[in-house]
C-alpha cells in the first residue's frame, strides 16, 4: 500500500464512507451481500463490476436514499438512518440515469436544485453561472433540457451534483452511453475536481475509466467484493505484464487452446479470440509462430483491469 500517488493532493485517514458487512436485500435476493469499504477524504474511489454486481445499490445506500438491510454504514461519520438529511446536504449525487427536470431550462435546473439545499437565490445564480462554465454549457443556459445531447445532459447532471459544493461526489456510471469525445470531456472535468480535493466515489464497468480516474478500487461481482487495491496493484497481483490477443481463422477458437499450452503463464479462450497472459509479449508471439499455428491476427498490449476481472470471475466486464 506504499504506492505513490502523484496526482492526489490530500488524502487523509478520515473515512468518509465506512461500511462493514453491508447488505442490501430485495426480497430474497441480496443485491449487496456483505461488503467492507472505506473511502478516505480526498481520494477517488471506484466500484468496478459488470451490470448487476451491486454497484448501484451500494451507491444508493451511500447516498442515503436506500436503507441498508444489515451491517454498519457511516457516511461522513454519521448514521444515514438518523442523519440522512444532514448527510445529503454535504453530498453530490450523479445518478446512473440522468433525472434532470424536463420542465426547467438548463440554468433553472441548477438554481432550483440549489434551493433544495437552502442556498440563497443570489448564491445559487452565481454558482449556476460558474458551474455552467465549468461543464462548458454556458451557451445553452436558457435552453430546455430535452434537446441537449447525451454528453451535455451528463455534464449538466454533474454540474447539478456540485451545486452545494459537496465534500464527496457519488457518480454512478458517469460515462456509460457517451461517445468517446464526450467521455474524455467528462473525465477531464472529474480529474479537475479531484485536483481540487473533492472526494470522488464512482462506479463503472469500463476498466479504462477506472484506470484513468481511480486511486483505489474494489472489484464487485454478484454483490460481493472479489478484490481491492490500486489499479496497478490489482494488475500486478491478478494479471501479467503483457497480454497477447490471438484470433484464428476458424469458428472454434477452443481447438487452439491445447496447441498453445505452455506459451504463457495462463490463457483464456473467448468465443472470438484467445488471450495469452505473458511477461514478454513479443517473445510469446515468436513462440506462436515457431509452432506454426498461423493466427489471422496477433496483438500485444499491456494488461488492464479487464484482464483482472476476467481472471477473477471468468467473465468479461462488458457483455
Amino acid at each position: 500500500m506504499s504506492d505513490p500517488r502523484p496526482n492526489v493532493v490530500r488524502v487523509s485517514d478520515e473515512s468518509l464512507v465506512h461500511a462493514r458487512g453491508l447488505v442490501k436485500r430485495f426480497g430474497d435476493f441480496a443485491a449487496v451481500d456483505g461488503i467492507d469499504v472505506d473511502v478516505r477524504r480526498g481520494e477517488a474511489f471506484g466500484f468496478l463490476g459488470p451490470n448487476g454486481a451491486g454497484k448501484s445499490s451500494t451507491m444508493r445506500m451511500v447516498g442515503c436514499v436506500s436503507p441498508p438491510s444489515a451491517g454498519v454504514l457511516r457516511i461522513l461519520g454519521m448514521d444515514p438512518a438518523r442523519s440522512g438529511s444532514r448527510i445529503r446536504a454535504r453530498l453530490g449525487v450523479c445518478p446512473q440515469v440522468d433525472n434532470l427536470d424536463p420542465e426547467l431550462t438548463v440554468r433553472e435546473n441548477l438554481t432550483a436544485y440549489a434551493r433544495f439545499f437552502g442556498i440563497s437565490r443570489r448564491v445559487a445564480r452565481q454558482r449556476a453561472a460558474e458551474l455552467l462554465d465549468f461543464v462548458q454549457l454556458s451557451d445553452r443556459a436558457s435552453s430546455r433540457v430535452e434537446p441537449l445531447s447525451g454528453g451535455m445532459k451528463r455534464r449538466l447532471t454533474i454540474a447539478r451534483s456540485l451545486v452545494n459544493e459537496p465534500e464527496m461526489v457519488l457518480l454512478d456510471e458517469p460515462t456509460t452511453g457517451l461517445d468517446p469525445q464526450a467521455r474524455h470531456l467528462v473525465w477531464e472535468r472529474l480529474f479537475r475536481l479531484k485536483q481540487q480535493g473533492v472526494t470522488l466515489v464512482l462506479t463503472t464497468h469500463y476498466m479504462d475509466e477506472a484506470e484513468q480516474l481511480c486511486d483505489r478500487l474494489v472489484v464487485m461481482d454478484g454483490g460481493r467484493i472479489v478484490a481491492q487495491g490500486t489499479p496497478r496493484e490489482l494488475i500486478e497481483r491478478y494479471s501479467t505484464r503483457e497480454v497477447v490477443e490471438l484470433r484464428f481463422p476458424v469458428p472454434d477458437q477452443g481447438a487452439y487452446g491445447e496447441k498453445l499450452a505452455g506459451v504463457g503463464e495462463r490463457l483464456e479462450v473467448l468465443p472470438d479470440r484467445i488471450l495469452l497472459y505473458v511477461a514478454d509479449g513479443d517473445e510469446a508471439v515468436a513462440e506462436v509462430h515457431r509452432r506454426s499455428l498461423g493466427p489471422s491476427s496477433a496483438l500485444v498490449r499491456r494488461s488492464s483491469l479487464e484482464d483482472v476481472f476476467l481472471h477473477l470471475t471468468g467473465r468479461t466486464l462488458v457483455d
Partner: protein, 269 residues
C-alpha cells in the same frame, strides 16, 4: 448532535423551508400555456353554474331545502359547484400531475438526493396544488356574491372552508397516486370523481335519494364538503357542519401522512 438539541421549532422551520423550495421549483416551471389552463380551471365551475344553475334552474324554478326554506335553484347549486371544483382542482393536480412527476419525470428521485425529505416533498407539492385552488375559490365566491347567490359575510367565511376542502382532497389524491401503477387507473379515479359529483347532494337535496343510497352518500367526502360549504353559503353552520370539518381534517391528516410514508417506501428502496 448539536442540531438534535436545538428546539423543535427550528427543525420545523427547516422543514417548512425545504417544502417551500419544492414550491419554488414549480413556480420556475411555469410556462405561458399554463396561464391559459389556469383561466380554464376558473371557468369550469362557472360554466356548470350557468348551464345547470341558471339554464336548468329556469326549468325547475325554486327548490325546497332541508331547513324548510324555498330558494332559487342556482342558489342551491352554486355552493355545491364550488365544493366540487375545489375537489376536482385538487385531485387533478395531485393525481395526474403528481404521478407524472414521480413516475415519468423521476423528479423526486433527484430531489430526495438532497436534504429534502419525502414528507417535505409531499407538503410542498400539496401547498403548490392549493395555490391555484385558492385563486379559483376566491374568484368563484366573488361571482356568487355578485349574482346574489350568497352574501359577502357568508362568502368571506366560505373562502377558508373551500381552501380547506381543497387541502383535504389534495392529500387524498396524493395518497391515492402513490398506489397507482399506470395511467389506466386514472380513468377509474376520474369515474369515481364524476360519480361523487353527481351523487353528493349536488343537484338535488340528499333527502331525495333512496334511503340506503342516501346513507352511503353521507359518508363520502364530497357530500361532507358540499354540506359544509352549503351550510356556510346558504343555510347555517351547526353541529353537522362541525362533523364535516372533523371528517375533512381526518382526511387531510391521514392522506398526507400516508402519502409521505408511501413515497418513502416507493422512492427510498
Amino acid at each position: 448532535m448539536v442540531t438534535l438539541a436545538l428546539p423543535r421549532l427550528l427543525l420545523a422551520r427547516d422543514s417548512a423551508r425545504r417544502a417551500g423550495s419544492m414550491v419554488e421549483r414549480n413556480v420556475a416551471a411555469l410556462r405561458s400555456a399554463y396561464w391559459i389552463v389556469m383561466v380554464g380551471g376558473f371557468l369550469e365551475p362557472l360554466l356548470y353554474l350557468f348551464s345547470i344553475g341558471v339554464g336548468v334552474g329556469a326549468l325547475i324554478g325554486d327548490i325546497r331545502i332541508p331547513d324548510g326554506r324555498v330558494v332559487g335553484y342556482a342558489e342551491f347549486v352554486a355552493p355545491a359547484m364550488l365544493a366540487a371544483s375545489a375537489m376536482s382542482g385538487a385531485l387533478s393536480e395531485t393525481t395526474f400531475n403528481f404521478f407524472g412527476k414521480m413516475k415519468f419525470m423521476r423528479l423526486y428521485d433527484a430531489v430526495l438526493a438532497t436534504p429534502v425529505r419525502p414528507m417535505e416533498v409531499a407538503a410542498g407539492e400539496l401547498i403548490w396544488a392549493m395555490a391555484r385552488g385558492t385563486v379559483y375559490a376566491a374568484a368563484f365566491l366573488v361571482v356568487m356574491t355578485l349574482m346574489d347567490l350568497t352574501s359577502w359575510p357568508r362568502a368571506l367565511a366560505a373562502f377558508p372552508a373551500t381552501v380547506f376542502v381543497g387541502f383535504a382532497f389534495g392529500a387524498l389524491g396524493m395518497a391515492l397516486s402513490t398506489f397507482m401503477r399506470g395511467w389506466q387507473e386514472f380513468d377509474l379515479i376520474a369515474a369515481v370523481q364524476f360519480a361523487l359529483f353527481l351523487f353528493s347532494g349536488t343537484f338535488v337535496p340528499a333527502q331525495d335519494y333512496w334511503p340506503p343510497l342516501r346513507m352511503l352518500v353521507e359518508i363520502t367526502p364530497l357530500y361532507r364538503a358540499v354540506d359544509l360549504i352549503r351550510g356556510i353559503c346558504l343555510t347555517s353552520f351547526g353541529a353537522v357542519q362541525v362533523v364535516d370539518l372533523i371528517y375533512l381534517c381526518a382526511l387531510f391528516a391521514g392522506g398526507l401522512a400516508l402519502a409521505g410514508r408511501r413515497m418513502a417506501r416507493l422512492l427510498l428502496k
